[in-house]
């Protein structure tokens, strides 16, 4: 009789005594499972934006934040502190040197400022006619001249236009460059559009996207060298690489076609079965 009492008690004590060892498991679980990147961080508006959109600031400040909000940077979570430094979560440290605050760069410092992230582009620019002129004389285009400072959009061929480029020299040199870039640029946009379409159809295009991106980025860096000959020579290489992606894309489209055909084949089978079943059921109907 007593054993019905003792056994559950022993089991209970056994479970409870494993409690302390479970605590460490809980810690590991919390750390690896609940606090990983895919746990939502409570969203906060950065201290920078809070101040620079408040009524204490003049309209130029409001305009800056408005321009940034419409930019490519804003869409990809590149915020004030990513370029200007400072602490975005703490207003008292938001403009402190200790937290890496850089302030607005002086004109001559602009290339290095943008080049903190865009390393390859900076290297290409510094070797170019534009870069050398700017560093030596302080005149000539820097990043902001063509791309703007806060309302930065995705770069396109339209940046090379008569209005912008003929400020310092004749447009024909810029036009030559634009023509040299044209072939690869149009292929790049074709491939990109097709990759997007494939992605929407459920095909896994991760590898192709990465391959495409690094070629795209490489070509962008090359175009900053303002060296028409170099662009012409390398264009062939880039086109070949893009053609590799294109052949993989074609394979994927063929796979999609196969799927659609298979579905259609099964659809026809079922239509046939429905008709036969209908006629059969009608034949059993009592008059």
């Amino acid at each position: 009789m007593m054993r019905y009492f003792i056994i559950p008690l022993v089991v209970l004590i056994g479970i409870v005594s494993t409690g302390p060892s479970q605590a460490s498991y809980r810690e590991t679980f919390e750390k690896e499972f609940m606090l990983s990147p895919w746990h939502i961080a409570a969203g906060e508006i950065s201290a920078c934006i809070q101040c620079h959109t408040s009524d204490n600031m003049g309209p130029e400040m409001h305009e800056i934040t408005q321009q940034w909000k419409e930019s490519f940077h804003a869409k990809h979570n590149v915020s004030c502190h990513d370029c200007h430094g400072g602490a975005p979560e703490d207003a008292s440290m938001s403009m402190m040197h200790q937290r890496g605050f850089k302030g607005s760069p002086k004109d001559l410092d602009i290339p290095e400022f943008c080049g903190t992230c865009h390393i390859a582009i900076l290297n290409s620019y510094l070797k170019s006619g534009h870069g050398k002129t700017f560093i030596e004389t302080g005149e000539g285009p820097n990043c902001v001249t063509c791309h703007g400072s806060h309302n930065i959009q995705r770069a396109s061929m339209d940046i090379i236009n008569e209005q912008l480029c003929s400020q310092c020299h004749t447009y024909d040199r810029a036009q030559e460059m634009k023509q040299a870039l044209f072939m690869v640029e149009s292929k790049l946009s074709n491939v990109e559009e097709t990759l997007d379409r494939l992605k929407l159809s459920g095909i896994n295009v991760d590898n192709q996207e990465k391959f495409f991106y690094r070629n795209h980025a490489g070509f962008r860096a090359l175009s900053h060298s303002i060296n028409v000959d170099a662009v012409r020579i390398k264009s062939g290489d880039y086109i070949k690489k893009l053609e590799i992606i294109e052949s993989e894309i074609n394979e994927s489209f063929n796979q999609l076609k196969f799927r659609k055909n298979f579905y259609a084949y099964l659809l026809l089978l079922f239509i046939g079965l429905s008709i036969v079943a209908f006629l059969l059921s009608k034949s059993y109907e009592q008059k």
Binding site: P37, T116, C117, H118, I119, A120, N123, E209, K210, F211, F212, Y213, R214, A217, G218, A221, Y265, L266, L269, F270, G272, L273, V276, A277, L279, L280, S283
Partner: protein, 136 residues
């Protein structure tokens, strides 16, 4: 009655065809095919990579970097940055791998140090023999 028999036969025929059209894909589904044949293992001589330096190679159509780390031995990492796919470069002065596109930085284990990437670099298996390194 003949009509009914004809209908029954067509039902049986179509039904069997449909059944096979599902059983065949299902059976292929259950057996995962071997992924495409990988490259034969690549061998490099140890003396091609002195300590503190790295060598860029291509394996399985992927650009890799083989680093001879001071104190930690050899490691083979994919050069494809986990952010958007640009190829990282070895910075021997600062002992890290840097991506030229958005300044993403990785340590010599492939872990993210700073920048927009969130996942570590892919690591490839590496065997070190007497004076040769084999990847894959």
């Amino acid at each position: 009655m003949e009509r009914r028999q004809l209908l029954k036969t067509s039902l049986a025929f179509l039904g069997t065809t449909t059944l096979i059209s599902f059983v065949y894909p299902a059976s292929k589904f259950l057996v995962r095919p071997k992924s495409s044949v990988p490259d034969a293992p690549l061998t490099i001589n140890k003396n091609e990579i002195p300590t503190g330096t790295a060598k860029e190679i291509v394996f399985n159509e992927t650009p890799l970097v083989v680093i001879n780390r001071r104190g930690s031995g050899f490691i083979a990492l994919s050069r494809v940055c986990t952010h958007l796919g640009c190829l990282v470069g070895y910075d021997k002065f600062n002992n890290k791998l840097v991506c030229p596109c958005h300044a993403g930085e990785f340590d010599l284990e492939g872990r993210v140090l700073s920048g927009p990437a969130t996942k570590p670099l892919l690591r490839y298996p590496l065997k070190v023999a007497a004076d040769q390194i084999t990847i894959g």
